[in-house]
Amino acid sequence: MIASFFLQPVAMILLTGALVAAAGALVGTFLVLQRNSMLSDAISHSIVFGIVVVWLLTHAQSGPVQILGAALTGVLTVFLTELVAGTRRVKRDAAIGLVFPALFAAGVLLLNLYARDVHIDTHTVLLGEIGFVWLDTMMLGSLELPQAVVWMSVVTLANLIYVLMFYKELKLATFDPQLAAALGFAPTALFYVLLALTSTTAVAAFDAVGAVLFIAFVIVPPATAYLLTDRLSLMLVYSVLIGVASSLSGYPVAVMFDVSVGGTMAAMTGVFFLLAFLLGPRHGLLGREWQRRRGE
């Protein structure tokens, strides 16, 4: 019965979507609170460079080598950004916007020149196709599982372990980096691990939802949760729930209109955000209006 569950296309699509949402929300919560949301944008574009370079070197399209390569590319992106910003000739936001397009362009050109006939064309990298995840399977023991589900489970678990193990340290480094540094919690190291995890999540997710749609799952559910609660622990729970709900509700909509499943799932995160922005009890427009009236 378990085996047949893992071969049902719909179940696998929903499971992959839910895993992408959960993994993205876990790292995204901290990125949004640290005001580094746009780093996820930079990373998800520049991993294209990493994916192409690793493919040229090893011909591996997915799996552990690709995930390691992606982690390194993500760290490289952030390192280069900090390097450019560190010259103090360029503001940090401009530095982000200078580094990742250059890496992305280099990745696309390498694809143009050396890898014209392979499966990793630029459209897949950007858009992905979650509808086909159940076609690409691998054997795990006696179970036949879709590759995307296996790798997404691994990175989701890794993100969860990181957040649970370093919860206290991450919390302090996010809200008071100076104190964290003074107490010896190495906020910079925590930051780079977080970004390495973000890029591994991005590369595991890109087959399913593509690099750009992945950003939606990293930024939008945590931002929505931020409008609903002031507690970090609740914000993590809410953003995972909102992300998973977007994935699950996006699928039937996509099927109804016969459009991209990944795109619809990502667009649903926007619907949830809009709801929280308008109707949120404390930080939404309506809630603030209500509080103002009551205060009068």
Partner: protein
């Protein structure tokens, strides 16, 4: 490479690249100076649903409609970011990220919707993701040139107002300028640059075209009008070189080449620009450090000489080494070349000694007087 310019298609693309360079250099300056660099990124991605809407309205791949649609959704995204960050606790970075990712997702949904309509003329709509410079038609240039002209005229008409709002919005408000309106206009105008670049470099790489020419120009000049002119020049150069390279090598997409060329210009500018460049100020610092070291050495030797009541008192080098904690022979050698010190033999069995020359002595007096420390003898 230059004979390519005789080719009709290449001519068309080069003219397009010139328009792109003008629009992105011009509008990018304001975006970068107002610390809205990543707004270009968001608006470029937000253009995708507009491309699809324009296509749906026109029913074909008509660049005019597609640019109009892209402009519409990009402006909506810009206003969305402004509203969300102003009316909630969401910070700018998250606001930009939300607008970027959700509107791109809507774009993907619309793209697949159009593809599902089995409309024969939809071919190549997704080329707007990465641009397809080679497919530029002569009539497309009218739209690109038109938008560029609009941007130019707007900036010229409102030059003073834009300049003031960019550098001192508080003062601009205090003299009665409509700051909020001007800021919204400036932000929305980034969308004009984005739509000019749709055909050439595509939505994904427009980020670089908005930021890079302005950042490169800022390294060389200080005044806004110089910066704008230089950014336009850099934009045009990168566009034209990019087009020519990609036209002469098979399979090379234009957009990424253009972006790599402008990135190289930025790297050179940050490293080498006179006065501000990283390399330049490194050399300057090294030279400063040397001069300070030499001046310190002269005054130390002067004070030793004064202490011993002997202007030609020979100082042992190893003593200077241990006093400064570093090897001093390089400094002494340079001072020797300038004629300020001379080697002296105190006792032949001991190490090298140095003594001030007459010019060195008067130089030390000059230094001490210049910093207000009266020389003692």
């Amino acid at each position: 490479m230059l004979e390519l310019l005789g080719n009709f298609t290449v001519q068309t693309v080069v003219i397009g690249a010139v328009f792109l360079g003008i629009a992105s250099g011009l509008l990018g300056c304001f975006a970068v100076l107002r610390q809205q660099s990543l707004m270009g990124d968001t608006l470029a991605h937000a253009a995708l649903p507009g491309v699809c809407i324009g296509f749906l309205i026109a029913g074909s791949r008509h660049l005019g409609w597609i640019m109009a649609g892209a402009l519409g959704t990009a402006v909506v995204a810009a206003l969305f970011v402004q509203m969300v960050t102003r009316h909630s606790r969401i910070k700018t970075d998250a606001g930009l990220g939300i607008a970027l990712s959700v509107s791109f997702a809507l774009g993907v949904v619309l793209l697949t919707y159009i593809q599902g309509q089995s409309n024969a003329s939809q071919g190549g709509l997704d080329s707007f993701l990465f641009g397809q410079a080679a497919a530029t038609q002569r009539e497309d240039l009218w739209f690109m040139g038109g938008v560029t002209l609009v941007a130019l005229v707007l900036v010229m008409l409102c030059w003073k107002q834009f300049k003031l709002v960019t550098f001192d919005p508080l003062f601009a408000g205090s003299i009665g300028l409509p700051v909020v309106v001007l800021e919204s206009v400036l932000t929305s105008m980034i969308a004009l640059a984005v739509v000019v670049g749709l055909q050439m470099v595509g939505v994904v790489l427009m980020t670089a075209m908005v930021i890079a020419p302005a950042v490169a120009a800022r390294q060389w000049v200080k005044q806004l009008h110089h910066m704008v002119i230089l950014a336009v020049v850099f934009g045009i150069i990168s566009g034209v070189i990019g087009v020519l390279i990609s036209a002469s090598v098979r399979h090379l997409a234009t957009g990424p080449v253009v972006v790599l060329v402008i990135s190289a210009i930025v790297a050179v500018s940050i490293l080498l620009s006179p006065g501000r460049g990283v390399l330049w100020s490194w050399i300057h610092r090294q030279r400063e450090r040397r001069t300070i070291g030499q001046r310190q050495m002269l005054t130390t030797m002067y004070k030793l000489a004064a202490h011993h009541d002997d202007p030609y008192y020979p100082v042992e080098r190893s003593m200077l080494d241990s006093f400064y904690g570093v090897r001093t022979d390089a400094i002494l050698k340079r001072l020797h070349n300038q004629g300020h010190v001379a080697p002296a033999s105190h006792m032949p069995t001991e190490g090298i000694h140095w003594t001030l020359t007459d010019t060195g002595y008067s130089e030390a007096v000059r230094i001490l007087q210049s910093i207000g420390a009266e020389p003692s003898p």
